[in-house]
Structure formats: C-alpha cells, structure tokens
Amino acid sequence: MIPLSYYLILSGILFTLGVAGFIVKSDLISVFISIELMLNAVNLSLIAFSHYLRDMTGNLFVFFVMVVAAAEAAVGLAIIIAVVRNRQTLSLDEMDLMKH
C-alpha cells in the first residue's frame, strides 16, 4: 500500500500551490482556479484519511466540499460578471476603488 504520508505530502504541495497562486496571480479567473485547487487538495487528504481510517465519513465530506465548491463557483462567476460589467476589467490590480 502507498503510505499515507505520500498522499498528505502531495495534498500539502497542491494546497501550497493554490495559496501561492492566490497571492501571486492578478487575473481574477486564475485566482479563482487557485481556490479550487486548494479545495481539491483538501479533498485528496480527506479521501486518503478516509481510506486509512476505514471510515466512510471522509468520503461523505468530499461530496459536501464538492457541492459547496460548486455553489461558491456559481456565486463567484455571477459576481465576476457584475464586476466586469461595472469596470470592464478582469485584473485584480485595478480593484482599488477603496484604497486610501
């Protein structure tokens, strides 16, 4: 069997990549994808734990995470459309209406 730590390390790397993408990228869609990557890294951990603990809860949790991620994506896309209509840009660097 593949040791649990392999999964956890891969999941940790994916999560870190997501965090890095979130911080570095200035394109709205890329930032959004980074968040999805973070959530899927968590899903990988959940499945690995679930398998090693011989417990179904982790599997169940993944379903809910997926559904919530979809809801978040839907609302996110809607808000992005609203922003683009108002501002005509997808760049986060230009989101500075409230800097003081």
Binding site: F32, L53, D55, G58, L60, E72, G76, V83, M95, H100
Partner: protein
C-alpha cells in the same frame, strides 16, 4: 439511530427560515412591478419572528439531535436568540433601505434568511461537516448580499473581495478540520476531544504532530471570518463597499456565529492543547486591538472607520479567548455535562455578554449610517455628519449612544462588556493583555468622540437631501438602542441568565 420528531424540533428555527426563504423566492419570482419586495419583506419579518419563537422554545428541548450532529445547549439557544433577533431587526431596517435605494428586490430578504439558517447551524453544530456547511451557507449568502447594489462599482468590488478572501479562508478552515479528522478519526467535536485526550494519556498519537498545524489552520480560517488581525486586510474594503445595512449584518451576526465555532472547536475539541493555542489568541488579540484602533484614527469615511473599529472589537473578544485558554479544564466534560457545561469556564460569559452588546451597538451604528447615507449611499463621510445634531436630532442622538457604547462609556452596555473582559483578564493574571486593552480603549476615544464632535459642534457642510420618515426603521433602531441601554443600566437579568 432512528430519527424522531424531537430531532426536527431541535432544528425548527432553521426549518422555518428555510421554508420562508423558499416562499419568498417563489413569491418574488411571480411578483411584478410595485409589489416587488413588499410581500417579501412582510414574509421575512413573520418568518424571522416565528423562528425566534422556535429558538426561544428550544430552552425546553436541550440535548442532541440527528445522532449528535446538532447540540442544543445553552450556548446554541443563546446565540439562536441573538442571531434571530438580529435578523428580525435587520428585516425591519431593510424595509427602509430597499425603498430608499429604489430597487426593491425580495431576494434581499431570502438571502438574509438563508444566511441565518447557516448561522443557526454554525452555533448549534457539534459536527465539523455541519459546521462547515453552516459556515458556507451563511458566507455565500453574505457574498451575494454585499453585491446587492450590483450597478454600483464599489458594491460589486466589495463582494468580489469578500468572496475571494472568504473562500480562501474557508479553504484554510477546511484543511484544518481535515487534519483534525485524520488525527482523531472523527468529525464529532466531543469525540475528537475524547480521542485526543485519550491518545495523549496513552503516550502520544501517531498523527499527533498534525494537531498544532490543524489548530493553526482552523484559526487562520476563522480569524478571517471574525476579522482578527493579521487576517483583517479585507475588512475595511468590504465593509466600506457593501451596503451599510449589509455591513451591519455581516459585522455582527456572522461574526458572532464564527466566534461560536471558534469557541466550540478550541474549547471542546482542542482543550488538551490550550497551551499552544493560548498564544494564537494572545497575539491575535493584541494585533487586532492595536491595528484596528490605529487604523481607525485616520479614516474619513464613517463606514471604513467602523470597519477598523470592528477589528479592534474582535481583539477585545479574543482577550476573553486567551482567558479561556488559561483555564482550560472545566470540572465536567462539555460533551457530557448538563446544558450549562460550556459556560463553566471563566471568560465564556464575558464573550456572550460582549457579543450581545456589540451586535446591538454596531448594528445600530450602521443603521444610522445607512439612513444618513441615503439613496445611492453618497453621504458616508465624516463631513456629511457635521451638524447632524441640528438637522436630525433623533438620528444624532442614536448615533451618539451607539458610538459611546462602542467606546465603553458608563451606563451603556459597551462599558460593562469591556469591564467583564478586563476583569476576567485580571483574574487570569493576564495583566499585560489587560493593560494593552485599556490603552487601546483610550486611543479609541479619539475617533469615536470625533464623530460626536462633528455632529454637535460643527456647522453643516453642503446640502443633505431630506430623509423620509420610516416607522420600520425607527422600530428597528429603537430595538438596538433599548438593548444597549438596558444592558448598560440593568445587566442583572442577562447576567443572572448567563450564570444559570
């Protein structure tokens, strides 16, 4: 385990809110023209009052539901009442806001009720999956509420920032609870607490090194939600850009619910690790109070100033969390104790009292801002409030009351709330923390009192459009004011109830 009627009774407030929320969507889908929003508002108010009644009736049904997923104890009943009362008041205020804004849409109320459903599950959940779902229901509804004025660039930008940083924080929270699940083998909070305690007694556990990491990740996630420093960067922009009423809602009810999760996760599940998380709370408390108050000093927008102020207020509450960490061992296990078990620790009562007062005074302050800001929210800067004492004495008086309470002046609820926090800090020998909190209160005096000075001692600048009278708004704001005064002058009732 078979589900019984009792299980459904214990989530009755959430059921009522969901039914009314769905009803509003159906009515709103069919409604045309002038009736839009009007029926929805009435439905939302009735729904929130019914849910409030159901929340109060929970007192008679303490216990757990759905195989231990939902726990109805004193904390969950208390916060159900607080949150549902807030929703009812926000509904009243919203009737005025939606009419003034000129685009009445019933969806506002539906989202409000759905957010409350999420918060209800947040405060009564004893299961990390349910906690996560509750957190997301309330967060996603709040994102949309922030974008309510969708043709206003500021409103949508605020929603975007809230969404991005909120989802970012959620991912951290989720990663944290996943590691907690992996280390303990359970997602039930009491079971995690027992499992970790048992394994620690048996000489460490295989994945024990994950626990501090899990605690830190959960704290980052929830730190974002309660806007504690150093995770507060989103707060000023979101609070300034969102409609004032929405800001009032997310800065009070949503924050209170997130604090309850913080309490349950750390106090019930991670009790054995309080030595480690004490420092998380300690550092975050000092940073939040200091950065919040210093940031507020140089703001000219009232909404932005109150955003920084709410960061500072979160800091005061975190002081009480540090106190809890100092005395982590209650006599009884909260999982098995009678209903009041979770209140046994020092500091918990102070948190409950503070959150109650904070909710009333902050919501009240934002209600006044929403009213003065008027259509399109054009008047939110300090200079717009100049001379308000002469133009609208009632509004100015209410604002003064809320600001003085936020500052912590005697005879307002804010004074006693701060007093209990400081007192518990001194009793726990956290002298340094208490002194930082005191110094911060002095700093805060400057920017709160500056607004009062502007309202009463400066001549009005420019022309303000007339503010139409609104009975619904008056009733809602009066509720906030009464709570602030009542808890400031006669706190005995609540304290007695808390002690029970």
């Amino acid at each position: 385990m078979p589900t019984s009627l009792m299980d459904y009774l214990r989530i009755l407030p959430e059921i009522i809110l969901t039914v009314f929320g769905a009803l509003i969507l159906l009515v709103e889908g069919a409604a045309r023209g002038g009736s839009r929003g009007r029926i929805a508002g009435a439905l939302a108010f009735i729904g929130s009052l019914l849910a409030l009644a159901a929340g109060i009736s929970l007192i008679r049904y303490p216990g757990t539901a759905f195989a231990g997923m939902v726990r109805v104890d004193s904390v969950s009943i208390y916060f159900h009442i607080l949150i549902l009362a807030t929703v009812a008041v926000v509904t009243l205020l919203a009737m005025d806001f939606l009419r003034t804004d000129g685009h009445p849409r019933g969806e506002f109320y539906a989202l409000l009720l759905f957010a409350a459903v999420g918060m209800g599950f947040m405060v009564s959940s004893d299961n990390l999956i349910l906690t996560f779902i509750g957190l997301e229901i309330s967060s996603i509804s709040s994102y949309v509420l922030c974008a309510y004025r969708r043709h206003a660039p500021k409103s949508t930008e605020a929603a975007l920032k809230y969404l991005l940083l909120g989802s970012f924080a959620t991912a951290f929270f989720l990663y944290g609870i996943t590691l907690l699940y992996g280390a303990s083998g359970s997602v039930s909070l009491p079971a995690i607490g027992q499992s970790l305690a048992g394994k620690m007694a048996a000489g460490g556990l295989a994945l024990g090194s994950l626990i501090p990491l899990a605690a830190a990740l959960i704290f980052v996630g929830l730190g974002f939600k309660v806007s504690a420093a150093p995770f507060q960067v989103w707060t000023p922009d979101v609070y300034e850009g969102a409609p004032a009423l929405v800001t009032g809602f997310i800065s009070t009810a949503a924050k209170a619910a997130a604090f309850v999760i913080l309490l349950r996760v750390f106090y019930v599940a991670l009790r054995g690790y309080s030595q480690q998380w004490f420092w998380l709370m300690w550092v975050a408390a000092i940073l939040s109070m200091t950065l919040g108050n210093i940031g507020a000093l140089r703001q000219t927008s009232l909404k932005r100033m109150l955003a920084y102020s709410s960061v500072a207020q979160a800091g005061y509450i975190l002081v009480a969390f540090a106190v809890i960490a100092q005395n982590p061992a209650p006599r009884v296990l909260p999982g098995h104790a009678p209903v009041s078990g979770i209140l046994a620790g020092p500091g918990v009562g102070a948190i409950l009292f503070y959150l109650t007062v904070y909710t009333a005074m902050n919501l009240g302050a934002f209600a006044v801002i929403a009213r003065v800001a008027n259509r399109g929210e054009r008047f939110t800067s300090l200079s717009d409030f100049a001379g308000l004492g002469k133009r609208h004495p009632g509004l100015a008086l209410a604002m003064t009351l809320f600001l003085l309470s936020l500052l912590g002046v005697p005879f307002t609820g804010g004074f006693l709330a701060k007093l209990y926090i400081f007192q518990s800090a001194f009793q726990a020998h956290l002298i340094g923390l208490a002194i930082v909190a005191l110094v911060n209160t002095v700093i805060a005096a400057w920017y709160y009192l500056r607004v009062v000075v502007y309202m009463y001692m400066r001549p009005p600048e420019g022309e303000l459009p007339p503010i139409a009278s609104s009975p619904a708004w008056t009733l809602g704001a009066a509720c906030c004011a009464v709570v602030v005064l009542w808890l400031g002058i006669l706190p005995g009732h609540l304290l007695h109830w808390l002690a029970k």
